[in-house]
Symmetry: C2
Subunit: 394 residues, 2 copies
């Protein structure tokens, strides 16, 4: 039978490309700069085993059951404390625990976007945010960036031309895919514009703690005294992805709407994982752990930057991130990108083609390179392979 | 600031009532027939601790990482085998693992429903399905039931009057909230109608294995040779809810569309929980475990039925489920239901008011009573309390 699907499914890209990339990850000898995976050698395995086992030994009948929609109370308290440490004031009622921050992005789409609504995004922006928003059929308004993040004059123009925009979506720290950090001055100006045009800001902050050079800047939410900012947090990059613990921090009234959406979407995030995360975080020195992650990622970034300098043609451009997981590489105009990812895969190196991060074709060939996942030797070798492919095309 | 939300949020009920019920659950001395919670004393805790620990000891770096969208390969294989045991043929490509079957319901809404589309449901139907579908703004066509499930003539009328209906949503086994089972003859007729009108069936099957009296009937999917049925399964009721393992079993092409939705919705279900579930299921005698659950729930149902007979006024109606978790009680017309749930809570007994399961006011006061969660003594006492409230109203 041919089933009649919802109109929104025309906006939802086929999963074939993604599945192909997933499959390629597991090919023997593949060097992957594709996914944004944290370094698995830093997962605090012993501490996780201890807290997981203790949770089940102490309170299995509770922890294996259904739980409250808004999140496990102890976890909500710990997350509220984490927000307070970033100078974001609030209570447990300002938080909804989500299944990773990807789910928070889906909820943002669901709560805000009607078909045709303008949504302001960075150009380029996180492809997962586009996947989350696309089913709600927004009209994207993409704002140009430079090394300091969104260009404020461009943002103001976008707001002036789209005064009914539903929100501004930004990753202020070490943006995905570019690795750029929004400057403090621009954070303040973005908030002023948000207030002036009455358009909320969705602040996606997965990499904020992974600042390994320069100053860690305050989240937009810490500068927000009008309740304009919807902050999305996650433990995936500082603890581990498989616990799927994310959260939305926002005004109480708005959180209650997100809670209503959470019920229909998946009832609740696993109480077991929430309880285990809470037990883990209670006894773990997260600050030292984050420092270890920063040190490792700084080294890996350095190796990747040096390899790019050493092997890539001079007219290749690239960002120099001060944190996070990604370097954004732009190839010269004579490299069209046609079939490039397939050639890379033949050479056993994987990276995400830039066009997936744009809301309209960028007119230039970019790639996003992840440096957090691979050991240094593979980073060097992988960049050499990428460079060889590019050189062979000239 | 006042934020402008999407139009769909007008269809999403406030979470306050639910949160209040959640809170009431934890009041000291409360007897709860409200949630559909499995008996926690049957959770296979020792085996879970063993398989969870083993997973982390053997392969933490893999299991704590991001994983494939469609599900962990070993878990998909085990679930495919479970489907084969129910005479449902297919391969791993027919399955998408979801975060509980609640997420599958949300995905069904997202993939199929455009605003105003007719969706055919049982009258009454699972409130969680309504929560999942509501944000996509369908128009519900509710089909009357009797003791054998949806009345087929009524279903045909609904299809004739709504030939563009997107799907028929049914819980054929021990329906939530009524506990009714769709008869074999009606299963066949429902499939014929689905085929005749080219309207797929969404078969929600959380309670299928919990058949403790009479014959376990084949799933609609086992009788479906045209790819008309989208089967939703879950481990929540036979293993435990906190692992949040559900799945969609359907035609390969349709699964690939669901996979595309899963990426945007939450990337993937926790790889850790998937890996641990797979390891658990590999070594566990699920058949004996299910038999234990059946025996316990049969006893608890018997206690609840006997208590209803003993304490309730004669003109109270109720179903006699042969499986599952719920009895559906109807109060006589002089009991309006106004303020009744609050009075029950004062008497320290909790049940879900019937109107939440209807798409339009039922014109009679019903309650859904769960018997799986409470020990026998509390079941007896709780029904006595409910009955005393009703008697005091006359």
């Amino acid at each position: 039978m041919t089933m009649r699907l919802a109109k929104r499914m025309q906006q939802v890209e086929d999963s074939a490309f993604l599945t192909a990339l997933d499959k390629a990850e597991t090919v023997e000898g593949m060097i992957s700069f594709a996914a944004g995976m944290p370094a698995p050698e830093l997962f605090p395995v012993e501490a996780i085993i201890r807290s997981n086992t203790k949770t089940l030994e102490d309170e299995a009948r509770y922890a294996l059951q259904y739980g409250p929609v808004e999140g496990h109370p102890l976890l909500n308290t710990i997350l509220t404390k984490r927000m307070a440490d970033k100078n974001v004031a609030g209570t447990e009622e300002n938080i909804l625990v989500t299944s990773g921050s990807q789910q928070a992005l889906d909820f943002v789409g669901k709560v805000f976007i009607d078909e045709g609504d303008a949504v302001i995004v960075e150009n380029p922006t996180y492809l997962g945010a586009l996947s989350a928003f696309n089913p709600y059929m927004p009209r994207y308004v993409a704002v140009e960036m430079d090394e300091e993040g969104m260009i404020i004059e461009e943002l103001e123009r976008a707001l002036r031309e789209n005064p009914n925009a539903k929100f501004i979506y930004t990753i202020p720290d070490f943006q995905n895919p570019t690795g750029r950090q929004l400057s403090l001055e621009r954070r303040k100006k973005m908030l002023e514009l948000s207030n002036k045009y009455n358009v909320p800001i969705v602040e996606d902050a997965p990499y904020t703690d992974l600042c390994f050079e320069g100053e860690q800047l305050p989240p937009l939410k810490a500068l927000d005294d009008k309740g304009l900012v919807i902050y999305l947090g996650t433990l995936s990059k500082i603890f581990c992805p498989a616990f799927r613990i994310g959260w939305i921090f926002a005004e109480k009234e708005l959180i209650s709407r997100f809670v209503a959406i959470k019920v229909g979407a998946d009832l609740q995030t696993s109480l077991l994982l929430q309880r285990q995360s809470a037990n883990f975080l209670k006894g773990f020195d997260m600050a030292s752990h984050i420092q270890k992650i920063r040190d490792l990622y700084r080294s890996r970034r350095d190796v990747m930057l040096r390899a790019i300098e050493a092997y890539m043609p001079e007219d290749v451009t690239y960002t120099r991130p001060k944190g996070g997981l990604f370097i954004w590489v732009g190839f010269p105009p004579d490299i069209t990108g046609e079939g490039l990812v397939e050639t890379f895969i033949e050479e056993k190196v994987l990276a995400i083609p830039g066009e997936t991060f744009f809301t309209s074709p960028p007119g230039r060939c970019y790639f996003r390179l992840n440096y957090s996942f691979m050991p240094e030797k593979e980073i060097d070798e992988g960049i050499r392979r990428l460079a060889n492919v590019i050189k062979a095309m000239r």
